[in-house]
Symmetry: D3
Subunit: 133 residues, 6 copies
Amino acid sequence: MTDRFEKGLNVRKDVLGAEHVARSMANVSEFNKEIQELVTSWCWGDIWTREGISRRDRSLINLAILTAMNRNHEFKVHVKGALTNGCTPEEIKEVLLQTAVYCGVPAALESFRNASEVLAEWEQETDGSSGRA
Amino acid sequence: MTDRFEKGLNVRKDVLGAEHVARSMANVSEFNKEIQELVTSWCWGDIWTREGISRRDRSLINLAILTAMNRNHEFKVHVKGALTNGCTPEEIKEVLLQTAVYCGVPAALESFRNASEVLAEWEQETDGSSGRA
Amino acid sequence: MTDRFEKGLNVRKDVLGAEHVARSMANVSEFNKEIQELVTSWCWGDIWTREGISRRDRSLINLAILTAMNRNHEFKVHVKGALTNGCTPEEIKEVLLQTAVYCGVPAALESFRNASEVLAEWEQETDGSSGRA
Amino acid sequence: MTDRFEKGLNVRKDVLGAEHVARSMANVSEFNKEIQELVTSWCWGDIWTREGISRRDRSLINLAILTAMNRNHEFKVHVKGALTNGCTPEEIKEVLLQTAVYCGVPAALESFRNASEVLAEWEQETDGSSGRA
Amino acid sequence: MTDRFEKGLNVRKDVLGAEHVARSMANVSEFNKEIQELVTSWCWGDIWTREGISRRDRSLINLAILTAMNRNHEFKVHVKGALTNGCTPEEIKEVLLQTAVYCGVPAALESFRNASEVLAEWEQETDGSSGRA
Amino acid sequence: MTDRFEKGLNVRKDVLGAEHVARSMANVSEFNKEIQELVTSWCWGDIWTREGISRRDRSLINLAILTAMNRNHEFKVHVKGALTNGCTPEEIKEVLLQTAVYCGVPAALESFRNASEVLAEWEQETDGSSGRA
């Protein structure tokens, strides 16, 4: 598993931030160590390392999936990841508007609320210079 | 509603094909006439006419959403729409591989089966010259 | 269980038709006999026998739930039940239009297709004299 | 969009309260302004203005849908809307009991907890004179 | 309903703890009294009293279902129930790892977080002597 | 990936039958070859090879998950897998009865119908000598 794990860990750090990943690793326990390894290998080592579509594309797709699946914690993690991958707030808005018709309005409203929170934090951290220049 | 409806109808024909839309319209009854109008105005008039992300982006995002939502009939309609919008089979594959980790493997397998069917029909109709040249 | 079961069986026959229930009972096997009993006692004996909202209300609510839950087989059974309970095609249409914004357009479209099929059969059986007179 | 928007805004104020809507409007930002407009036009302008079923019916149906879809924030907003539309706590209870068999017991329990909170607030605000007189 | 209710109440106390059940009963109001009765009769009286698979099996199955259904409050209640029924943290871990491939990684991560919280409380209460001896 | 893939392929053949796996492999195309590899590595190589709970446990858990997730094609594949892993029809029945209260009655009814079909085929193939002796 090591090679995929190593590659995956690097992409995971790139997208979610070294700090976020360090925090996840610091919380590793007897109980959750395998899931941490598998997530890194599967999501990041097997999927996010693939070419064919860009990281920006993968981020937008993930925001749509996580809205549809009603997984708000992970959604917020990936809004930050999307901004790191250079998605602009305008692009994120477009994805969420699209979820309104395909997932239903309550799903979209929930993601708009969650994304707004992450955007506010991001703008504070980066002095408003968010997204692609 | 007319202006949004007209614009929406044009995009809907572009993406899903004039024949598909003509067939939907021919099936309009007292019972389903409003939903046909609303779908055209909302999805196509209000969302697909927007700029900010491309039609190719919207197609990939829809394939992800429809896999997550388990809506296979509509998924197949949008695989064809994605090919019309210039998405390549390789890009469609990448989206579906990503759903495997985020929506679960059974969801991805179902969409791979459905997409394979549509791709086979598409290749017959177009003599294999599918997607972006 | 007998009393609730008996009462439930009567309501079930009223709403879904004696023939439908007889067919379900004829298909009872060693494997599914308990679920048939529990469905009759829970759904029909414990819930549908209750007052507080009418059978017409319960039918409309069920069509909304089954659309949201993506359970199409059961949805079609309950479209027929709704018509038996005196819901008009117009009322069924209103419920499904409402699901379009709250469950997403693909969910609504699927239920419109399924309801149209049941309505066509119903109109044949009843010579078009469907719903409340 | 203006006419549908205006009509929708009026119904939205009727059902959710002028204060709630004012608060939503005060939170409008560059990021969420379109979704606020679309929600008002689609949900309220296109659907809630329709006749065919009553506002009381639409409220009960929404509580069922939002329980099935697991959208608790929006569920609570619509419990208050239901009370405003004259639904009694007894009618709300009946809808939620019905979700227990059709959506599963955990879904119903979650909605009973959320509805209880809203009912307690409502009774305080109205001195217990809730629902239809 | 009395016999099933009584039997169900006993199993419910066994699995979820007499204190938890007493707390639920103390919160019984005019609004939620029927759902409390039905939950006890259906879940505990009709299902958990059945033989054919063990309580340990039913606990593991419930953790899988509640992860798939995204019902986190009830999930946490049943993690504690699983420990009471003698499931070990290792067995709970295995179920959740399995949900990662079948329900998607975000679902599994959410349940790992929730289970970790319950396990930490459980270990404090029992001085670390959790699960089957 | 080879080692995990090889081990996974062996378990996959054990559980789903060499014929089923051969058929899947014969259908491998340019489009779906990666998903076939990843499914084998993730589900079968990383999860089903683990100890901690038995294959019989994993089968019962999967039937619960696939009922909750509404993935009927995969559900039927895993009913056969469950029988191969020695689960009896009685144990499968117990899992599905449990889904009735936790996933809702329509989900359980759908899985009872699907499981009945697979059981009928299985009994024909094995002359009724299904499950654990």
